[in-house]
């Protein structure tokens, strides 16, 4: 057990912060594009179900965006409060990348978010669609810059060291560093899958509550098809990323495979084991012969990197902690397999022609979807989070003991703040993050329940003061002008309703 010193506490604190943060961009990156899709579908077909989908998911987007912003700000401050050595050493590379993120992405998202959320009636439809596009584009740009920097920390190039400080020599090499394309593709696909399962899970939940509307069927179809298309691509991209890691960060791959000392090829694929760092071997190993060699080299003779290669003569370990990387990797891959199974079973079932309520044989008949399948979708609502977090643990813990591979160790970058102080802020952050994650998940399910009941806001709950005014406005305001579909108290669809905010 490592002592809880400033370094360990600072690392836990940063890990907690970045784990909490990543949950929300993972949703907003792809959800922005999904919203654009809903909006465009609405414009092209005029079918109200797409606007209902937009109005439901834009609320989730707004909430996720706010969570992402506040936790992101926390991170930018923690560079200074806990890791001053990072910017002091690599600031000349990291600085411009972060600056471009703020300037090209943050402002774009933040400004047009206002128009996207509240401008639907204030601006022409094309401008609202453009705002939606710009927000989606901004979140993706933000992901691009951050993944450039993160990839550079894994596979740094295009720089030189002068007096222990990194100076950029080629921005092309820095931006297009070897792991960037793989990492970016892997992350964007992860975001797409997270959102696919989120939409699928929430729509299935509404269906289980008895929500019979078209929009629910469309969203289940949208989520299932998106997931079924993306997951094979993701497995392929992940494999490519793994091969890239094998080339540039072999110690990480050795830890992922749990390969301590095998250096003569025919390395088995370890399915289960408890890595023992003292004995430097696996306990209770269950393995497929030649598996790792086949995956990583496409031939049984392939020599998989082994952990023992990364111990120096005097016993210093230059490889990451094995068990954490090993297990995180298995959680990620396992979740991916579950995603593959669920999405394909759903699409294969759903896409077959079946009789609908009117006795017409057609595809995508929702009433024939078995309830257990719907429950499985609900259970996997946040499976994207699990896979994404596990994946980040693999890659980030897998980089240890380096902060920037071969340039700066994590221990060198930490601030010498008293451990007690770090511990107190860590506990504070943990409490807030746990509470907010809980609040976030329960609010999303609450929004789904409210939408499923199809009740206008204010009839479910005892109206608070101010509520009457809200309802009056909701009924008498411009909403009434939309073909009377949204008449107050009547068939108003809960999905898009929002009281005065």
């Amino acid at each position: 057990m490592e002592a809880l010193d400033t370094l360990v506490l600072s690392r836990i604190q940063f890990a907690a912060n970045i784990s909490f943060h990543i949950l929300f961009p993972t949703i907003t990156i792809a959800l922005g594009w999904a919203l654009l899709f809903f909006k465009l579908r609405f414009q092209w077909t005029g079918d109200a179900k797409w606007m209902e989908a937009y109005r439901f998911w834009v609320k989730v987007f707004a909430l996720s965006f706010a969570m992402g912003v506040v936790s992101g700000i926390t991170m930018s401050f923690q560079f200074g409060t806990n890791w001053p050595g990072f910017m002091e050493t690599v600031g000349n590379v990291a600085g411009p990348l972060l600056a471009y993120e703020v300037m090209t992405a943050f402002f774009l998202e933040a400004v047009f978010l206002g128009i996207m959320l509240f401008g639907w009636r204030k601006v022409p439809s094309w401008l609202h669609t453009t705002a939606t596009f710009l927000v989606a584009f901004g979140t993706t740009m933000s992901a691009f810059w951050i993944l450039v920097l993160n990839s550079w920390m894994h596979t740094p190039q295009g720089f030189e060291l002068r007096d222990g400080v990194v100076h950029a020599t080629s921005w092309m090499e820095i931006v297009f560093n070897p792991s960037m394309p793989y990492r970016l593709a892997h992350m964007l696909l992860a975001s797409g899958l997270t959102v696919a399962f989120l939409i699928l899970g929430i729509a299935a939940f509404r269906r289980l509550l008895g929500d019979q509307r078209e929009e629910v069927r469309s969203q289940i179809r949208f989520g299932a098809v998106l997931a079924a298309v993306l997951i094979p691509v993701q497995i392929f991209a992940g494999d490519m990323h793994g091969l890239n890691t094998q080339e540039y960060q072999p110690a990480k791959v050795a830890a992922m495979e749990g390969n301590w000392s095998d250096t003569d090829g025919r390395t088995p694929l370890v399915l289960f084991a408890i890595p023992d760092p003292e004995a430097r071997e696996n306990r209770f190993e269950v393995a497929i012969p030649n598996g790792a060699s086949l995956i990583l080299g496409h031939k049984p003779e392939h020599v998989v990197p082994s952990l023992d290669e990364f111990v120096t003569e005097d016993g210093e370990m230059l490889h990451p902690p094995v068990a954490k990387v090993f297990w995180a990797f298995r959680v990620m891959v396992g979740t991916g397999m579950a995603m593959l199974a669920l999405s394909w079973i759903t699409v294969l079932h759903f896409a077959r022609k079946r009789e609908d309520a009117n006795g017409v044989r057609r595809r995508w008949v929702i009433s024939t979807l078995p309830r257990p399948l719907l429950w499985a979708m609900v259970a996997m609502t946040f499976s994207g989070w699990l896979a994404t977090l596990a994946g980040w643990y693999v890659t980030e813990i897998g980089r240890q003991p380096w902060l920037v591979s071969g340039v700066l160790t994590t221990a060198e970058a930490v601030a010498q703040v008293p451990a007690g102080m770090v511990l107190s802020t860590l506990l504070g952050y943990l409490a807030v993050y746990a509470f907010l994650t809980l609040a976030y998940v329960s609010v999303i399910f609450y929004l789904a329940r409210r939408a499923a009941r199809g009740n206008p806001v204010g009839t479910l709950e005892s109206p608070g003061s101010g509520q009457a005014e809200v309802e009056a406005i909701a009924g008498a305001g411009p909403r009434g002008g939309r073909g009377g579909r949204d008449a107050p108290g009547g068939g108003t669809r809960g999905g898009g309703l929002q009281p005065a905010e």
């Binding site: 506040v70 000349n92 933040a110 400004v111 003061s465």
Partner: protein, 336 residues
């Protein structure tokens, strides 16, 4: 040294100016957001919704100026960034906690079950309060040279209270522009009280900074500096007098002059900030580290500078577009 010849001179200066500008824009823009949050306990439920509606479309972008400011400190003056933030470790933590609570409460208060709305309102107020207090505290401690002692903490606690009251003042001025009727009249009352925060805050910092540093004393009270700088305090005093006089008579029925308190408040904040910047230049960490010593390599700064030239005007343009789209009196915020 030639001015536009040596990039090691003009680049740090330019980035210090940009950072100063971002901080000022942040303080004014998020200042009114935070101020609106601070005034929450004095408002009824319906008024709270209206107050939130007045800042809803803007707050996110406003807060981004803080990210830009801290980003410039991080990328342009990395050594200073580490020094300042590690010495302000705990207040920064409280600031972040406050910003987290404030930011998420915007969303949760209308999306969670109505029975929790009261609690999220409370979190919104508490978050705004924590963020304002810790910003004021950090300002005070910065003026005191980032030293922790009983005296400096006492001073910083004072500036914390003053800045918080000052924020509620600018928040009230914003509400005067964006609302009408009883809420507007209430906001005028709030502004009359809040102006004390501005007066006391500027007074305390103006009195304290020369006393802490002989260098600052010399910069302000030497000759002919004190004459050349006279417009700064004189203008501030005139603006405060103007506000005092105007707020007695407001709100006007035809809404004609109701934008003036906010404009005057912006001008006062800008003048105070200019004075502060003048006092501390060329130091970024007071009396310890100048902007030239703390700056990143010129090549790195140049890369950012090029981007800034293109991007910053674009940001200003589309921010203006957003304010224009949501101009006029705040209406209920709906997603449809």
């Amino acid at each position: 040294m030639e001015w536009f010849g040596d990039p090691a001179v003009w680049l740090p200066w330019t980035f210090a100016a940009l950072m100063g500008l971002s901080i000022l824009v942040y303080v004014v823009l998020d200042g009114f957001d935070l101020g609106v949050g601070l005034l929450f306990p004095f408002a009824s439920d319906a008024e709270k919704d209206r107050m939130i509606a007045s800042i809803g479309p803007f707050w996110d972008a406003n807060e981004t100026w803080l990210v830009l400011a801290i980003g410039i400190l991080l990328v342009a003056f990395p050594v200073a960034h580490g020094l300042i933030l590690t010495s302000l470790y705990l207040p920064v933590f409280l600031l972040l906690l406050g910003l987290i609570l404030r930011g998420v409460s915007f969303e949760f208060r209308v999306k969670a079950h109505v029975r929790y709305k009261e609690r999220w309102n409370l979190a919104f107020w508490g978050g705004s309060l924590m963020a304002s207090l810790s910003q004021g505290f950090m300002l005070g401690l910065y003026v005191m040279g980032l030293e922790w002692s009983w005296a400096t903490v006492a001073f910083a606690s004072l500036t914390a209270v003053f800045l918080t009251v000052g924020y509620s003042f600018i928040g009230a001025c914003w509400i005067i522009i964006k609302t009408e009727g009883p809420l507007q009249r209430k906001a005028v009352e709030w502004a009359r009280g809040g102006i004390w925060g501005v007066i006391l805050g500027i007074g305390a910092i103006s009195a304290a900074s020369p006393l802490v540093s002989p260098r600052i004393w010399g910069k302000w009270l030497g000759w002919p500096e004190s004459l050349l700088l006279a417009p700064l305090p004189v203008l501030s005093a005139a603006l405060i007098a103007f506000l005092w006089w105007k707020l007695r008579r407001m709100p006007y029925d035809d809404d004609r002059w109701n934008w003036t308190p906010f404009a005057a408040a912006m001008a006062i904040f800008a003048l105070a900030f200019l004075g502060l910047a003048y006092s501390f230049y060329p130091y970024v960490v007071p009396e310890r580290l100048t902007i030239y010593e703390a700056a990143s390599a010129p090549e790195a700064l140049f890369i950012i500078f090029i981007g800034t030239l293109v991007v910053l005007p674009t940001i200003v343009a589309y921010t203006a577009l957003a304010y224009w789209i949501f101009r006029g009196k705040a209406q209920d915020l709906t997603y449809d």
